[in-house]
């Protein structure tokens, strides 16, 4: 019994049921269909994980999707250690966020639509992680992108939301273009798109060079970088990170599920899945590591000065995704996936807490207008505090173990940029702790800075929202305990578990160095928290003074390094200019319309001449018929002569 097939197809069935019958029949009961389906997927995923732990591994083709010459693609499933972990991450977060949405989206007029998209998203994401070939991966990849577009623009009557949806979709096209070419290159090189065949042959091409657009390039570097293009877009890395903060226009559960826990980590998953290809190219790994490190630092600095509750967390997500790429880039794929797994819990939790705060504040997002929420919403406060402690890397919590493993492997690994990215990563750890606690202190401490009306309205969220918070909080605290390093007496089970798929990155260093790296990361974490406490609780007038002192820096950071303005100037406006003046003005008006109008008028003119033949007189027709017969008879006679 291939029970694991239920994992993707339960949410798909829920999607079909909700989209067909949601509007008229199911209406406000849509959550039952979707939530039960995804909970079913979760149960089956846990069973699958148990099987994988006891040594099962599946690589099975379900049926042939397309067959053309030697190009064969199946819908197939690969279940190994990496897939099992991703399944747990996706279905756990998805289930909890479905439950949370019941409370959060209550009374919304598109209730059934929301849940059907959520189910479709879960289906696509599961197809993505369970694929056994690149094309099915691509299917899931585009599917989640599409759902992301639907859900960002969920409040489509709001212009900013529909614009944000378009932006996310279009920016992703840039990355997916490279990703698509990457898959073509894989097919050209290996003649197949199945993972097992590609990865087993990859080593044989370690030295191959090809001519690409006139340049002589190393084949594996090329393929790895093209695949990484897709990752950059999907995981919002520099320079395609601009869509993710805007994606916060969507409902908060969507931000938590798609733009924090699951979809955006697909890029990291891709790099980890393709590690046999990436490992063959040092250049590609350096690019991955540096992109990750730079993005991480860049997003963290922006996060320092933003005032929008959800955007701060969004920049934090971009920054943490950079961390994961940093890990993959230094060859520590297990550490990257480990961080992906712990990050999913604490970041989903942060977003859901933000949603809970928004719920209480009547949709207010500006943290400067909050404060003292601690006493009104204790559950939200404590869960969000634990999530922030986890992301800040406080020892014992999930974020600490994964972050420490990344920093240690960056410091001690064989990568030529290891030390640089370690330094950047450590700096980011400091910034992360600072902005996370700036958020906490401004939101929950001090005095309330909103309107009286809002203050009167403050309340803790309903049970359907707080229970998922508490469950995720357990994950944010405890999910790291499966990967406690040997150094502090743990078993590093996660690394061992992942070894068959992701290999094992060796750290070359003494125990003393390892203690030092850990001590530094803990120290910067605590100093970040301490600085935030000092600036926002003890001396609340300080931030204003600092801002005044460094006005120019603050302005640049507040405006996100003017990246959006730069793109608008470099890409968007020239594109619109070309569209208006060339495409509409010349191509459309002079070429296409000339053809479109010219063909009918030519046919019309010809017809006007031809019409004259039709006299309506019987004799003319009879004469022509007779002449025709004579000519045919004459031809036949003469030919036989």
């Amino acid at each position: 019994m291939q029970y694991y097939l239920l994992i993707p197809f339960l949410p798909f069935a829920a999607f079909i049921i909700n989209i067909l019958f949601g509007r008229k029949i199911i209406k406000d009961n849509a959550h039952w269909v979707s939530t039960l389906a995804v909970a079913g997927s979760w149960i089956v995923s846990v069973m699958t994980l148990m099987d994988v732990l006891s040594g099962l591994s599946v690589n099975q083709n379900l049926y042939t999707w397309m067959l053309s010459g030697n190009f064969k693609v199946s819908v197939g499933f690969l279940i190994d250690q990496l897939t099992a972990v991703m399944l747990i991450v996706v279905t756990t977060c998805s289930t909890l966020i479905h439950i949370y949405s019941i409370g959060y989206m209550h009374g919304d007029k598109g209730y059934y639509r929301f849940f059907s998209y959520l189910s479709l998203f879960t289906f696509c994401m599961l197809m993505l992680v369970m694929a056994n070939n690149f094309l099915q991966l691509y299917f899931g990849w585009e599917g989640v992108g599409l759902c992301s577009y639907f859900l960002i623009g969920y409040y489509f009557d709001k212009k900013s939301a529909s614009d944000a949806g378009k932006k996310a979709f279009i920016v992703n096209r840039f990355g997916d273009f490279g990703f698509g070419i990457g898959i073509f290159m894989i097919f050209i090189t290996f003649g197949t798109t199945y993972y097992d065949e590609v990865f087993s042959q990859a080593a044989g091409h370690a030295l191959t060079r090809v001519n690409f657009l006139g340049f002589d390039v190393h084949l594996m570097t090329l393929i790895a970088l093209l695949l990484f293009c897709g990752s950059i877009g999907k995981s919002a890395q520099m320079p395609l990170h601009v869509w993710l903060p805007d994606a916060m226009e969507g409902p908060t559960p969507v931000s938590a599920l798609i733009h924090a826990a699951t979809m955006v980590t697909a890029g990291v998953f891709l790099v980890a899945r393709c590690n046999p290809i990436f490992s063959l190219s040092e250049t590609a790994l350096i690019v991955v590591a540096m992109t990750g490190a730079i993005t991480s630092l860049f997003a963290a600095t922006i996060g320092l000065v933003q005032n929008d509750l959800k955007r701060i967390i969004a920049y934090s997500t971009v920054s943490q995704l950079g961390y994961m790429f940093l890990a993959c880039g230094v060859g520590a794929y297990t550490a990257g996936v480990f961080h992906l797994y712990t990050h999913a819990f604490f970041k989903a939790l942060l977003f859901l807490c933000a949603g809970s705060v928004m719920h209480a504040m009547g949709g207010e997002l500006n943290i400067q207008k909050m404060g003292s929420l601690k006493k009104f919403m204790p559950i939200t406060y404590w869960t969000m505090l634990l999530a922030s402690l986890s992301i800040a890397g406080v020892p014992g919590l999930a974020g600490f173990f994964s972050k420490d493993e990344i920093l240690w492997l960056a410091y001690s690994g064989a990568s030529p940029v290891g030390k640089i990215v370690w330094a950047m990563g450590t700096l980011v750890a400091f910034l992360t702790a600072f902005y996370s606690f700036r958020l906490i202190f401004l939101t929950f401490h001090g005095r309330f800075r909103g309107t009286h009306e809002q203050e009167h309205h403050l309340h803790e969220s309903p049970k359907t929202m707080t229970v998922p918070l508490m469950i995720l909080c357990v994950g944010a605290v405890a999910s790291g305990w499966v990967g406690i390093p040997h150094l502090v007496g743990g078993g590093a089970h996660f690394t061992e578990f992942m070894k068959p798929v992701l290999g094992h990155a060796e750290g070359h260093g003494t125990h003393a160095e390892e203690w030092m790296v850990m001590a530094i990361s803990v120290a910067v974490g605590f100093s970040g928290i301490g600085l935030a406490y000092f600036m926002y609780v003890l001396r609340p007038e300080l931030p204003g003074i600092v801002t005044q002192r460094f006005l120019a820096v603050h302005k640049v950071l507040f405006n996100k390094y003017y990246i959006d303005e730069l793109y608008s100037f470099l890409i968007i406006r020239p594109t619109i200019w070309v569209a208006k003046n060339v495409l509409i003005g010349v191509t459309d008006a002079r070429v296409i319309e000339a053809i479109v109008n010219g063909v009918p008028s030519a046919i019309g003119g010809f017809s006007r001449q031809l019409r004259k033949m039709q006299t309506g007189l019987l004799h003319n027709y009879a004469t022509i018929t007779a002449m025709g017969i004579f000519i045919i008879a004459a031809v036949m006679l003469l030919r036989n002569w």
């Binding site: 019409r611 004259k612 033949m613 039709q614 006299t615 309506g616 007189l617 019987l618 004799h619 009879a622 004469t623 007779a626």
Partner: protein
């Protein structure tokens, strides 16, 4: 014994008269009669060949043609009567409603 050729010449002559009549006359009833002449010319040659080849299939074909011609004549005459009632003429040059 009349040789085959004579029948064929007769058939060709009758057929040509039919074609000539159809093309030159303007009275629709005359044209209709010319049409019948052409059909019967074909019948003559079919019967002649049938006899010459000692094969009855030619005869069978002729019976079919006669049947069809009868049907055609009844429908054709009905159309001509309908036309005459409408246009009060049997002159085909005045029937050019189908001019493009």
């Amino acid at each position: 014994m009349v040789p085959l050729n004579w029948y064929l010449i007769l058939s060709a002559a009758v057929f040509s008269i039919g074609v000539f009549g159809f093309l030159t006359r303007r009275n629709i009833i005359i044209m209709f009669m010319s049409l019948e002449l052409m059909l019967n010319a074909v019948n003559i040659s079919l019967v002649a060949f049938s006899h010459y080849l000692q094969d009855l299939r030619g005869h069978v074909l002729v019976f079919f043609i006669i049947t069809v011609a009868a049907a055609e004549a009844s429908i054709g005459l009905a159309i001509i009567i309908a036309l005459f009632k409408n246009k009060n003429t049997v002159h085909v040059d005045e029937m050019n409603e189908m001019k493009g």
